[in-house]
Amino acid sequence: MTILVIAEHDNSHLKGATLNAIAAASKLGDDVHVLVAGNGAQAVADQAAKAAGVGKVLLADGPALAEGLAENVAAQVLSIAQGYSHILFPATAAGKNVAPRVAAKLDVAQISDIISVEATDTFTRPIYAGNAIATVQSADTIKIITVRTTAFDGVAAEGGSATVESVAVVADSGLSSFVGREVAASDRPELAGAKIVVSGGRGLGSAENFKILDPLADKLGAALGASRAAVDAGYAPNDWQVGQTGKIVAPQLYVAVGISGAIQHLAGMKDSKVIVAINKDAEAPIFGVADYGLVADLFQAVPELVQAL
């Protein structure tokens, strides 16, 4: 069986999520190919070729693929889909956008956000905000899958020596066009891949107060996250949201500050290795999943914690 992984990248760097998807692919078979669909993306293909376990890299390089438009990327995947038993996408915003389009065109069901490979046709995936785990079996000839990246340890980025082969680029669909992008600037590690995450909730009270978490995150080298309540209240930007409808994280250490622990938030962080909760309400549900809980006023505890570290 030959497995195809769709690379996530920004035309110059291969994103870490791709390495997690390759790890899932390696559990399905030995022959793993990676498709890099982009514009001026030779460097990405070279990086993908170095990833452990990759047999071949296919590079589709052309202007139609510059901005990752779903219509064009899906058409590109379809142009090479035959011959593969599985096509895997990382379950990122980009992967989730394109994968179902490919599945529908192939008339197959998609298996979203898998957290384990049980057999080549059987996978587990969380449903109901992670409150249940479904084991599903697919009878389709080509299996279209998105991979929850935090559930698979990424393969090594160095050590492989795959060949890079160019493939023909599809024509632009003409249906959609890219207008612009606003990138949230941050010096901190990327939330989804961070080893330590410090998250704030409604308990912070304001965007100004949210800054109390900055020194703690700096000291720990952590990414900053937020609950949906904090994001909706405008304390933190959208792309910091951890939860069922935001990002799913599974760091070594997750520090939840002023977060009550609603179901939707827990769905995004309960696979973290160690969870610390700081909350003044001893009854907060977050203490039900925390390894270490501290009932305290966060405005005192957080600066104290920074001092003590």
Binding site: A70, E71, A74, A93, A94, N97, V98, P100, R101, V102, A103, A104, V108, A109, Q110, I111, S112, D113, T122, R125, P126, I127, Y128, A129, N131, A132, I133, T135, V136, Q137, S138, L175, S176, F178, V179, G180, R181, E182, V183, A184, A192, I196, L220, R228, N238, D239, T245, L253, I263, K270, K273, V274, V289, D291, Y292, G293, L294, A296, L305, A308
Partner: protein, 249 residues
């Protein structure tokens, strides 16, 4: 222009579901059901487009059991003009729903279909994209801003690391993210008015769509429980535990 809004009846988001002891699924008997929160945002957006004079008619549609009519009544109380239920007791997966919706789109010829980005029960995040593929229409998923101008629509999307804006040629598919809008509360007079609006019931057979599930669910189990944690009395103890016991800092 006509706007079609597919909605789904799901277990209310406040309910913590329980897995059945025989692992056949989750227990949803006697559990509160509501409209999927992302779909409420979709209905609200369509209604706002109508209030702005962009949309002329908003049609709500759902696929599922007879009780889903309640969800359609809610959509009409928010602002949809009429509704359609594609009624079946078969377990519907996203591909089947996308095919049913395609059949309805072929019949109704809307210019815009607005769906939620995902349903909070199966957490698939597929239907909108699949519908776009089946129709060969452009798609803009995870929308946080929608502006229709002439024969195109400009959509700002929430992506990893920020926002991006796309321009789509109509007809098009949009899926909503949380921050697109704040759905209005339905008022009693509007609930009463919604009872008088048209609700058509059709079957998958009438639309000529095979809805048999493609994925077989072998079992549904509880997620692994976390081992019970401890409460620490002060920050010093916490730091000590993190350094010496958990060894994470």
């Amino acid at each position: 222009m006509k706007v079609l809004v597919p909605v789904k009846r799901v277990v209310d988001y406040n309910v913590k579901v329980r897995v059945k002891s025989d692992q056949s699924g989750v227990d949803i008997a006697n559990v509160k059901m509501s409209m999927n929160p992302f779909d409420e945002i979709a209905v609200e957006e369509a209604t706002r487009l109508k209030e702005k004079g962009v949309a002329t008619e908003v049609i709500a549609v759902t696929c599922g059991v007879a009780q889903s009519q309640e969800t359609l009544r809610t959509a009409m109380a928010i602002g949809a003009d009429r509704a359609a239920l594609i009624q079946t007791d078969v377990e519907l997966q996203p591909l089947a729903v996308a095919k049913l919706l395609k059949a309805l789109v072929d019949k109704e010829q809307p210019q815009l279909v607005i769906l939620g980005k995902q349903a909070i029960d199966d957490d698939s995040n597929q239907t909108g994209q699949m519908l776009a593929a089946l129709l060969d229409w452009p798609q803009a998923t995870f929308a946080s801003k929608v502006e229709v101008s002439g024969d195109s629509v400009s959509v700002t999307r929430e992506v990893d690391g920020g926002l991006e804006t796309l321009s789509l040629k109509l007809p098009a598919i949009i899926t909503t993210d949380l921050r697109l809008n704040e759905p209005r509360y339905v008022t009693l007079p509007n609930i009463m008015k919604a009872k008088k609006k048209t609700l058509d019931v059709i079957t998958p057979e009438e639309l000529g769509v095979d809805v048999a599930p493609r994925l077989k669910t072998l079992k549904v189990s509880e997620p692994p429980a976390r081992s019970a944690g401890i409460m620490v009395p002060d920050v010093a103890t916490l730091v000590d535990k993190l350094k010496n016991e958990a060894k994470v800092v």
